[in-house]
Amino acid sequence: MSGTLHLIEVDVNGKRRVAQVPARLSLVDWLRDELRLTGTHVGCEHGVCGACSVMLDGEAVRACLMYAVQAHGHRVTTVEGLARPDGTMSPLQDAFCEAHGLQCGYCTPGMLIAAQALLDANPRPTEVEIREAIGGNLCRCTGYQQIVEAVRLAALRVE
């Protein structure tokens, strides 16, 4: 039975995607390898680093800790879905550039998803709330300070 394929239908960044997937395929591998949405990164593959964060029905989750088959009937937003419809960057993405909220960029898609989910729920977060929201995302370059500043800058701009 291990070769069984499951039919799934998922809204990914506003587009309806239909696929046949094996049960063991993780959501992040499906997004990257099948849909070629390689903005979402794979780090640790066991729920520690946060690089694979996506939004599921608007809430940030780790895409390595879900199987693609479980996303059936749900709405997934990846980092590719954060940009404006014309392809220009969102206020949060702009703020990351301006505040130097990244160096190597590996953690950036996860940071953007975590921060955007925070701003969607809480448009004026305190610094403690920002740090709590990105607390599940590891960055090995920035020391986090500029990331926190970028999120704060984005919150000020959107006001």
Partner: protein, 292 residues
């Protein structure tokens, strides 16, 4: 770091989940939020032949206030419980414990029942359940429902009294009716959101004169299961909770623990932490009760 192949079924109801469990036997596992199970599958620490997904069962997701308890559906997300102000007012220890559980992303997906069924001896929610003596409602397709209190539910490290054909359906969290009640949760961990090196939780109620009329406290990560100390807590009742009395109870609790040594802490250090953190939790709970 990819899970081995497994058979997958999405259960539409509790009844169907129980029937699937009965049919598949030992090789099947229920998957709720998957925040513990999926990493274990990715690392091939567990390799279930079959996963039964209970995430889409609406009947397992609810918070219902009763007179002397709040019932929480097993598949209710931790983030939903964390945001529930009415629940936090009635069972404050639950929100206090959740503040230490993982991160926003894992609490958005992780469930209350999943954490209890996983029964990690370092985990916060099992400790809160043990301290409050929460009741777990289990369902099997053939035998119907049975209810276990926390003391008989947790049987060892990562093991519970849930039988292979049973599904954890809901958890009843007792509500203390005493008007002057306070609770607190504290822990030491390497980084916030990591597994606890030691965790402590306490809840106390006072009468108008400030004397303790009810008390409960416990420790996690210092034994095979989360530990509660009902006899030591009973010794606090009837007294004014002085620092000496709190410290003595905390020290006795630490003496009764059986901590292990690992990379993060020696058994001796864990025992030291157990005394310190139990006293801090009792002290903080007492202060809150006094202020209420």
């Amino acid at each position: 770091m990819k899970s081995a192949a497994f058979e997958y079924t999405r259960a539409a109801s509790i009844g169907e989940a129980c029937e699937l469990l009965a049919r598949h036997g030992d090789g099947a596992k229920l998957i709720a939020g998957g925040q513990s199970l999926v990493p274990m599958m990715a690392m091939r620490l567990v390799r279930p032949a079959s996963l039964i997904d209970i995430n889409e069962i609406a009947a397992l997701k609810f918070v219902a206030a009763e007179n002397d308890a709040v019932r929480v559906g097993a598949c209710t997300r931790q983030a939903v419980v964390e945001r529930d102000g009415a629940l936090a007012a009635r069972v404050p220890l639950l929100r206090q414990a959740l503040a230490w559980v993982g991160h926003a992303q894992t609490r958005n997906r992780g469930t209350i029942g999943g954490s209890l069924a996983h029964a990690d001896p370092c985990a916060e929610l099992p400790l809160a359940a043990q301290v409050l003596d929460a009741r777990m409602v289990l369902r099997a397709s053939s035998k119907g429902k049975r209810t276990l209190d926390a003391a008989s539910f947790f049987t060892g490290a990562m093991s519970t009294a849930i039988r292979a054909d049973e599904c954890l359906e809901e958890i009843e969290w007792p509500v203390w009716r005493e008007s002057r009640t306070g609770s607190a949760f504290t822990e030491l961990c390497i980084r916030h959101g990591d597994f606890a090196v030691v965790a402590a939780a306490a809840q106390v109620a006072l009468d108008d004169s400030g004397r303790c009329v009810r008390a409960a406290f416990g420790l996690a990560a210092v034994g095979q299961t989360p530990l509660a100390f009902p006899n030591l807590a009973a010794g606090l009742v009837g007294n004014s909770l002085t620092e000496d009395l709190i410290r003595a109870a905390a020290n006795d609790a630490a003496d009764a623990c059986e901590p292990g040594s690992d990379l993060h802490a020696s058994a001796e250090y864990r025992r030291h932490l157990a005394a310190v953190l139990a006293a801090r939790a009792l002290h903080a709970a007492h202060e809150k009760a006094k202020a209420s």
